[in-house]
Assembly symmetry: C2
């Protein structure tokens, strides 16, 4: 097999999204699939009132965490990022299966703590762990696959943002890797359920790649543009603007509300903080940043890429 | 973190089952979960007529395949072993999410071929791939999580074998790793569906660990024993008896039928081969082997272990 033949293109030459898009193009579709590859979770046929959601995330040692990190936090993270995907669709998580690749030299105690973290987050968010697989590997690899459900009227996709909608985030951004946030964050499930119950967002995504790239996903799916106000973007631990825009792994929700729902929100005392950071424009795919001196510049929806 | 502190127990000291059993003990349960950890797939609430099935399998380079193996076959295997788990419950597979860890130095062509294999098997067995995750890793890791469904009356568990039932397998055993079988096998889904439609097995499992260990799982879950007839165990490529009993990765179905269904089967021209290899006895947990000279000896349900 020409695994690394000189003339063949290597993975390192493609961005992750390029790869997924290339490969997803040929995937078979089915009348029971409402949203396939390309949103935070797949949406498939459920019962008469609800859709079923289905998502998966793999995290690996030295990419998403270090062996020296708290194993409880590592377990929490593996579960949390999947719950965050279900939250981004407006749904509630249900059942999880977990695969773990483990080095032989790891202590049983360490592995138990990973499971403690997985179970802790599962319990907190009503997830039932129903199965799994354990294999040996050189580095620690954890994969969680999670089902969920969402009332048909509560489903939020990336594709519903409209010109004039306001853009919000649920918390401060940037420096997630510099802090323990990327390991210990709590998925914004309550916030999501509160939003779909009262203000039905027109589009939503969880910020895993970074504010600019994930906003880019909403813009692409919705075929709109955005204008962000630099001074309104909440930042973690004195993150720079660049860090707030591109760092990734914040796991805050980024969502848009119609003017009507914005009015309603502004008249409501909410139990959660929602930060208004900008508006949706008609300028297809473009992100315009308005700085403190009211100068505008275009920024690129490109940040952290896995390859 | 005491990752490998001298006095702490290392994973290498535990069998895989020991580990899963230890960790599964504390898993929360729910009224919507009918079978959790400890069967081929989890069984959770579906609709009024069907249960939902949920399973996952992770395969890794240098454990379950080599980089020099056909990437199409590697993809096929990752999908097939999950379909085999659903078949072992009597169900049909539905939706899959796929996570892949890939080295940067892999060629795009190689990765495309892995996906081709995944898609080929998915298409053949009616599975729709609805999502996934791609990360970088030092070795190739593929995780498939698969949902399925099964009519409530068709569900087959490991726990239903009764004294007097006959034991069958769907094909020859042993030397799976020596051949391409462990990569190219076709999951026995049609066979499973034929069985649940006509002869409802009392217990079923797919042979991934090996005939003796997987029979051991049925015996443990059903609290019975078994008597196998050495001469009746079908073998692949002149496999030795030991290889047929312990090699693993055969992915044939091992199932038991009540005497009434055995009568019915013996009077039926089936479109598939079912090999009668022994009977269920009352001797709790024991596997007795009857050799060609009618000598009996006890064998141990211990074979290939992941650690």
């Amino acid at each position: 097999m020409p695994v690394s033949k000189r003339k063949s293109r290597l993975l390192s030459s493609l961005g992750e999204f390029g790869l997924i898009n290339t490969l997803a193009r040929n995937l078979p579709v089915s009348g029971e699939v409402f949203v396939g590859v390309g949103d935070d979770a797949a949406v498939v046929k459920g019962d008469s009132k609800k859709y079923m959601l289905f998502t998966t995330d793999m995290i690996a040692e030295d990419v998403h965490f270090k062996r020296g990190d708290s194993p409880v936090f590592i377990g929490q993270k593996a579960m949390s990022c999947n719950i965050s995907d279900v939250a981004a669709m407006g749904g509630v998580p249900k059942f999880a299966v977990i695969s773990i690749g483990l080095p032989k030299t790891l202590s049983v105690e360490y592995v138990k703590k990973i499971y403690q973290g997985l179970e802790k987050r599962a319990r907190e968010f009503g997830v039932v762990i129903v199965g799994g697989d354990t294999i040996k590997s050189d580095k620690i690899i954890i994969n969680v696959a999670l089902t969920g459900e969402v009332e048909k009227e509560s489903l939020v996709r990336r594709s519903g943002a409209k010109k004039g909608d306001w853009i919000f985030v649920t918390g401060p951004l940037g420096k997630s890797f510099g802090s323990a946030h990327h390991l210990s964050f709590k998925p914004r499930l309550k916030e999501s359920r509160y939003l779909v119950k009262h203000f039905q967002p027109s589009a939503m995504i969880d910020i895993s790649d970074g504010l600019a790239p994930d906003l880019g996903h909403i813009l692409e799916a919705s075929q709109v543009g955005a204008r962000l106000k630099e001074g309104k973007i909440p930042r973690r631990n004195q993150a720079s603007l660049k860090e707030a825009l591109y760092d990734g792994e914040d796991f805050e929700l980024l969502f848009t509300l119609s003017p009507k729902n914005v009015d309603k929100l502004l008249r409501t005392r909410t139990p959660f903080s929602f930060y208004h950071i900008g508006e949706i424009t008609g300028k297809n795919g473009k992100i315009i940043l308005l700085d403190k001196n009211l100068q505008v510049r275009e920024i690129h929806p490109k940040g952290f890429e896995h390859f």
